[in-house]
């Protein structure tokens, strides 16, 4: 990971420091000089957007925690007091709540970018696996955060989701009791969720550190998917990509602010403004939008398979839909990374995107009629894409010819050889 540095300590102090803790050298190598493919497009800016939102979430979260009271009697009013009585509390609270949605919007773009450009392929498997791990941590964090305001949806989401674990044979019930801190969701649940919700983002930040470390070993993939061959293919991270990333972060802040200032509650559910009531089940329990595709998969399994009950089956498919992501680097055997050069892969990919959208839609519907059937079809395609289509397509497909290098793809053949010479 080193060797890209042009760092020359100037002066005795800097030199002295550099020999003991080369942190300036490290920063210069990784934040300024790092050679980055010059052809990466705007889809490659979302990693930086994500890092930015993570910081926003942690800062707003810490301020919220100064005022929040993790007690089932007081939690709801304490969140309301933040909105009403804390200086700028309405904005801070809305930023954190909307921020969670923006985080997932960005992470889905980031993941689908990776799936299209084959960024998960060697030598970036660990980078990808760390990404999936981040995704899992994000979901756990967001879920526990959603429980904290202790509204009706908070409470019932906590009940429904923790209940999923009860379907696991033998260890299910102990896990359930451990999660809830008792038999039912109550004050003990709220307390441990608050504790974990404060903890997980820091673990997340640590895994993001590893993620970026794993990125800086092979360097970025790029839209043509051909590895960097020479310094003609790259530009230093600073100022080229720092500027590009910052620009996109500012653009991303525009819809973000639109929601925070003009529609802070629109991404949530009105029922969460009703204080939690264990005796009153809401007619229609829906998770936040970013969980809907997986919720649809969970509900799609409404039939028994041999000795597996429908409940356990739902849990297996639900868990499987995430776990399968860990294996994508080995399921897709194609040597060609970028979807741009894979004519057979492309239609299946876009169908996968549409299917994922459909599952999102279905996750919000009452499970009845045509929706049930569609959920099953959607679930089947979700798994087929990874387990059948990717392995087969990568074997039978004839990819389009790849450019010899990034420079060639950018400049055209003649010029590229000219530049080299």
């Amino acid at each position: 990971m080193s060797g890209n540095s042009s760092y020359n300590p100037t002066g005795a102090v800097e030199k002295w420091f550099d020999e003991r803790l080369p942190i300036i050298r490290f920063s210069k190598e990784h934040l300024m000089d790092f050679p980055t493919p010059k052809n990466i497009n705007y889809w490659w800016t979302f990693g930086a957007v994500l890092a930015f939102i993570l910081v926003v979430q942690i800062i707003t979260g810490i301020v919220l925690a100064m005022h929040y009271v993790p007690n089932s009697e007081l939690a709801f009013d304490s969140v309301e007091a933040i909105r009403r009585d804390v200086n700028y509390g309405r904005i801070i609270q809305a930023t954190h709540a909307v921020g969670a949605s923006m985080f997932f919007a960005a992470v889905y773009i980031h993941i689908f970018r990776g799936l299209y450009y084959g960024s998960y392929k060697a030598p970036r498997e660990i980078l990808w696996i760390l990404g999936v791990l981040i995704f899992v941590l994000m979901m756990a964090t967001a879920f526990m955060g959603y429980v904290l305001p202790w509204g009706q949806m908070s409470f019932w989401a906590a009940t429904v989701i923790t209940n999923i674990f009860a379907a696991i044979p033998i260890i299910g019930d102990p896990i359930l009791a451990l999660l809830r801190g008792g038999f039912a969701v109550d004050n003990a649940t709220l307390n441990r969720f608050f504790s974990l919700h404060y903890l997980l983002p820091f673990i997340l930040a640590a895994v993001v550190g590893l993620h970026i470390w794993a990125l800086h070993v092979p360097g970025n993939n790029n839209p043509v998917g051909v590895e960097v061959k020479s310094s003609h293919d790259t530009l230093p991270f600073h100022p080229y990509f720092t500027m590009k990333d910052l620009f996109v972060i500012v653009v991303f802040l525009i819809p973000f602010s639109w929601f925070v200032f003009f529609a802070p509650d629109i991404l949530g559910h009105p029922d969460n403004y009703i204080p939690a009531d264990p005796l009153l089940t809401p007619p229609h329990i829906v998770p936040e939008w970013y969980f809907l595709p997986f919720y649809a998969i969970l509900r799609a399994i409404d039939f028994d398979m041999l000795f597996i009950s429908s409940k356990l089956g739902g849990v297996i498919f639900f868990g499987g839909s995430i776990i399968v992501l860990f294996f994508v680097p080995w399921l897709d055997g194609s040597k060609v990374r970028s979807g741009n050069f894979r004519p057979l892969f492309r239609p299946f990919y876009w169908l996968f995107v549409l299917n994922f959208l459909m599952l999102t839609y279905l996750g919000a519907q009452v499970a009845e009629g045509i929706y049930v059937l569609l959920s099953k079809v959607g679930t089947a395609y979700y798994f087929a894409y990874f387990l059948i289509i990717l392995p087969i397509v990568s074997r039978i497909e004839t990819p389009a010819p790849l450019p010899a290098s990034i420079s060639e793809s950018v400049l055209g053949k003649a010029e590229a050889s000219g530049e080299k010479g």
Partner: protein, 281 residues
Amino acid sequence: MVMNKSRNVFKSLVLAAVMGLTGGLTGLAQAKVVGLEAELQKWSFAGVFGTYDVNQLQRGFQIFQQSCASCHSANLMSFRNLSEEGGPQFSEDQVKALAAEYTIYDPELEDGERQAVPADRWPAPFQTELDARAANSGALPPDFSVLAKARGISQKFPYWAFNYFTGYQEGGPDYIYNLLVNYGEPPADVELPDGQAWNNYLGRGLAMAPPLGDGFISYDGEGVPETLEQYAADVAAFMMWMAEPHLVSRKEMGFRVLTFLFLLAGMMYLVKRKIWANVKH
């Protein structure tokens, strides 16, 4: 190359549509099967430029105080809020005088009670939930503090999808308005339990008798009609303020933030283009 570009544009469009749609799906959640379609009102506080109408909030407060407050609590509202910027903006003297009409019960005081001051919360009409239920045929009148945000109306596709762009956040007041103006006779085949009143909007009975009707409350001054519809709109607006007291300052700040972001984004773009000017990529 040309082909490549147009394909990229197409992909960007698809992905943008994808993200837009996914973001839009939560709205689907609240499907109401029975009852009437909600009639949407024109609220002064709707939209990007919307602000509360101080006169309407004052009238709404009057209705709240003279009707609803005899059953519904408003635990998170303090008297002082009534004189704050962005709200009904009664004068501080008016609020002081208003508070003095109310009594705060507090077992730690010598006599167990005292006159309210502006810093006090709005006193609840019933001391306990049991009392409240006993007076309302077993039902609990919900607290008003955030009630206007705890209700919503259902909209058909694609109308709810537009909300993400118009910022429609008035589902609560629209619900309350439609609830209040749509009391009626139950259908012939429905027998309501005692203490329930039929509501056409909900398509079911509820344990709140129609609290308002034409001419029930007289407004000071001329010009504002004393009709059920007017009352309903006024009290719903007041409830929205109670649930979202900082709406006006929030939007004002939003304008400043968005203007800044647009300018900054434009400048960033120019700088970025300048830096990249000599690079083919």
